[in-house]
Structures are given as structure tokens and as C-alpha cells.
Amino acid sequence: NAGVTQTPKFRILKIGQSMTLQCTQDMNHNYMYWYRQDPGMGLKLIYYSVGAGITDKGEVPNGYNVSRSTTEDFPLRLELAAPSQTSVYFCASSTVTLGVIYGYTFGSGTRLTVV
């Protein structure tokens, strides 16, 4: 099925470990986003990308890195995991045509626990 695919769905990390959350979309969307959702809260934007090779910081970028080498993939890298990064991570994508946004789609999320 077309959409946004995130892997893994669950992960437990030890403090100081690193990992990459994968995100792939097959809708040829030019925009992609990473969010985190802390318990009982709304989503906060970590990073976004408007196209391959272009990324920019969102509201809460510290402790994370991203890359966008292809239109389809937008991995999120956590270096030196900390307990404060325990959260649910969502990837999303959309297309923007003639200044109008379409098809904003979320992945199913990755639940990350740092212990």
C-alpha cells in the first residue's frame, strides 16, 4: 500500500547508544518531516526537508540529525541517546504544488525508550 513506512516500530536503547529511525515514502512527495510526541502532548517538529539534499531544523532539533539523499528516504539519526529522547517518533510527507500543500500523510510511528 502506498504511504509512509517507518521502521522499527519499537526500540529500547541504552543511554549513550546511537540509532537511525528509517522513513520511506512512495508517493513522490517532495516534503518530509520528523516529529516527536511526548506522553499526553501534541507533536513537535524535529527536522523537515523540502526536497532531496535540503534539510532544515524544526522546533526541537537538538540531539538529532537527518539526511535526504533521495526523494523517498528521510532517516533520523540519534547520537548519544538520552532519557529525554524517550518518545514516539512520527515521520510524515506531503507535496506542495503551486504554493498549496496536499496529501499530508503520517507514518505509524516508532516508540523509542531510552534506559
Binding site: 523540502v50 500543500i101 499530508y104
Partner: protein, 114 residues
């Protein structure tokens, strides 16, 4: 800075009745988008309805409609004929017109009772 406020942490409604969820936002921009998302226990974020700020007409999607008051910076969601499947967290969200800012409210937990 843009903020989105949902003042109702939790609401309940009887099946088949109508409920309205409140949302206010703060922005200095003139062109932006507003959204309501539904998040059931499955955790999937599901788009319920969207509104472009330049459109005066309120958006509707079947049983879901909004009351968009641009001057008051208010964006409430009305759910008519509530169904058990509407039970979920509902998030109001603001996206800037250049798409680089996307702010969510803290959510309203809606319980539809049989």
C-alpha cells in the same frame, strides 16, 4: 511565536449527539493552514479536516465541520451524529504558509458513550 491551545483536555458525548472541540491559535501570519487530526489508540495520525486561512468558507467533511473565525484566531471542530469509532485523541494543528512550521495543540480526548 505560533502557539496552538486546546483548552478541553477531555470531553464526553453520547452516541448520535453533537460535540464541539475548541482550538485557538496565535500567529502574525496571514497565510496558513489549520488541521484537525484524530489519533485513536492505534497511534496512527488521521487527518480529519483542513482549512486554508485564505478561504472564508468553513470546511466540511461528512459529519465533521469547522467554525473558522480568522479574526478571533479560533478553529473549532464540530462532530455531528457521534459514533463509537470517533473515540480518540483529537489534535488541532497550525501550519505556516511556507510549510516550515507545524505546531500541534496538546489534544482533547474524546469519549463517545453508547
Amino acid at each position: 511565536a505560533q502557539t496552538v491551545t486546546q483548552s478541553q483536555p477531555e470531553m464526553s458525548v453520547q452516541e448520535a449527539e453533537t460535540v464541539t472541540l475548541s482550538c485557538t491559535y496565535d500567529t502574525s501570519e496571514n497565510n496558513y493552514y489549520l488541521f484537525w487530526y484524530k489519533q485513536p489508540p492505534s497511534r496512527q495520525m488521521i487527518l480529519v479536516i483542513r482549512q486554508e486561512a485564505y478561504k472564508q468558507q468553513n470546511a466540511t467533511e461528512n459529519r465533521f465541520s469547522v467554525n473558522f473565525q480568522k479574526a478571533a484566531k479560533s478553529f473549532s471542530l464540530k462532530i455531528s451524529d457521534s459514533q463509537l469509532g470517533d473515540t480518540a485523541m483529537y489534535f488541532c494543528a497550525f501550519m505556516s504558509g511556507n510549510f516550515n512550521k507545524f505546531y500541534f495543540g496538546s489534544g482533547t480526548k474524546l469519549n463517545v458513550k453508547p
